[in-house]
């Protein structure tokens, strides 16, 4: 009896005699610009998510290099024993002092075995180009890279000024070759590396540490003396 009464109370039929409730009003229509904006935003988000998903799917997965398995060597590739190869490598190493020139940082290191005997501030080539408008001749002032050997040494060296020095300074070429001799520019010592390249001193110690030379390696007076004393003819010079 009680249940039946409750059920009746919850029923809203026309038979109840109550007035009919109006149908729910449709939600207010969005203005057109807001609808367009909404679609643009949803579309952009979908494209971005898609692009991210594609990038992830096509992308690389990384692990630290130490975790990668070593390559499988070809057993037929090496016939010599490890000791023989190590001996061959050791034979290539410089026996005494050697010189390493870092042209990018303008540094010269005097080395003996793996020990640094001297680290000096140097000057290497500018890497710049000089063009003689009159003749069209071009020079590139770069310190060579690779391995060279000290081919000769000279105390109180004189420099025979090449053509490019006159072109660079806007001076006419001298008629007499003896006018080209300059006995102050190279400092107290010069170590010849071939093709006109040298390790030498400079009047311009203020620019040590900068790439200002025409390809030679310049050192300050004190460091030059140390290198002069430690590097005999035949010393290897590695330039990079």
């Amino acid at each position: 009896m009680h249940d039946a009464g409750d059920r009746r109370m919850n029923e809203t039929t026309p038979d109840d005699g109550l007035p009919e409730s109006p149908p729910p009003a449709p939600p207010p229509a969005l203005p057109r610009w807001r609808l367009v904006l909404k679609r643009v935003l949803v579309g952009t988000a979908a494209v971005m998510l898609g692009a991210l998903a594609l990038a992830w799917y096509g992308g690389y997965s990384y692990v630290p290099v130490a975790e990668v398995a070593p390559a499988i060597p070809d057993p037929a590739a090496g016939k010599s024993s490890i000791k023989q190869i190590e001996k061959g490598l050791a034979a290539l190493q410089p026996k005494g002092a050697y010189v390493v020139v870092d042209s990018a940082e303008n540094r010269l290191r005097l080395m003996r075995r793996d020990e640094v005997v001297l680290e000096a501030i140097a000057s290497a080539g500018t890497g710049a180009v000089l063009v003689d408008e009159a003749t069209g001749k071009t020079w590139v002032f770069e310190t060579p890279r690779g391995v060279r050997t000290v081919l000769g040494k000279k105390k109180n060296p004189c420099w025979r000024r090449p053509d490019w020095d006159y072109v660079e300074n806007g001076e006419p070429l001298p008629k007499d070759n003896s006018d080209r001799i300059d006995c102050a520019a190279l400092g107290k010592y010069a170590l010849f590396l071939g093709d006109g390249y040298m390790i030498h001193g400079t009047l311009y110690e203020r620019s040590l540490g900068m790439s200002v030379t025409h390809g030679c390696v310049r050192l300050g007076a004190k460091d030059l003396e140390t290198v002069w004393n430690a590097a005999p003819v035949g010393t290897k010079v590695y330039l990079y």
Partner: protein
């Protein structure tokens, strides 16, 4: 119970012992082979009198060497080995020795301004020439040289500016050099995020084009070292994978 243990479990107890005995023997043999292959490749590279690179995964370092002499060590902030998510199987280095195939572009060179004679201080120039003729160091401040002008111009370039380049090696390996400061700020993280997006799309496009993207090493180092490495590049530069001495 005891009979069950002796019959079924005793062989299992022997198994770890067998693994202990056999595993080092196998890995030592492999390590010796690796070492031999690396040394043979290094000897060939050292005899070529050209620069070559040795990558040491254990030390996360890249050595620039010539004639077996290490001239510079590029300390890597981080180095990761990557391959596309499509690739299956074991992560393994493709080879011990690689040859650079990427063409090295000619660097942009500044041009030296020829000095105009009207700009020269005649009196100072005469004094310098006289001193030089006597083999003496000229007194006073010397005028600025053409080289100093070029160096000052180059010094205006920011040495800390990020630098990134990719080097392709044969057989299939790409070395991605990222000369960037350590990821510290939002900009750095966003840049790295940008790199991975570009990589992903590139990998996908390659795959769609029917090519298998090659494995790559991404090496992070200082912008200065990245510039130094770029300058040291030469055609057909060798890259060797270091193998330590066998234990």
């Amino acid at each position: 119970m005891n009979a069950f243990v002796s019959r079924h479990l005793r062989p299992l107890l022997v198994l770890p012992w067998l693994m202990l005995v056999s595993a080092p023997a196998v890995s030592a043999g492999d390590a010796a082979l690796q070492r031999q292959a690396y040394l043979a490749a290094e000897l060939a590279a050292a005899k070529s009198k050209a620069f070559y690179l040795v990558f040491d995964p254990g030390a996360a370092a890249l050595d620039l060497k010539i004639e077996g002499v290490r001239v510079h060590r590029f300390a890597l902030e981080r180095a990761d080995f990557g391959r596309t998510r499509f690739s299956g199987g074991e992560r393994r280095w493709p080879a011990v020795s690689y040859t650079l195939t990427t063409e090295i572009p000619e660097p942009e060179r500044p041009r030296i301004e020829v000095q105009k004679q009207e700009d020269v201080d005649k009196a100072l120039d005469e004094a310098i020439k006289k001193a030089i003729a006597r083999g003496k160091k000229p007194a006073g401040e010397l005028p600025e040289t053409a080289g100093e002008k070029v160096a000052k111009q180059s010094a205006l370039e920011d040495p800390d500016a990020p630098l990134q380049f990719e080097l392709e090696f044969d057989p299939g390996l790409v070395l991605v050099v990222r000369g960037e400061p350590a990821a510290a700020g939002f900009d750095d993280y966003m840049r790295r995020f940008g790199h991975s997006l570009v990589e992903g799309w590139e990998g996908l496009l390659l795959r769609l084009g029917g090519h298998e993207p090659t494995p790559r090493i991404v090496a992070w180092l200082s912008p200065q070292d990245a510039r130094r490495l770029q300058k040291a590049l030469a055609p057909e530069l060798k890259l060797l994978l270091y193998a330590p001495p066998a234990p």
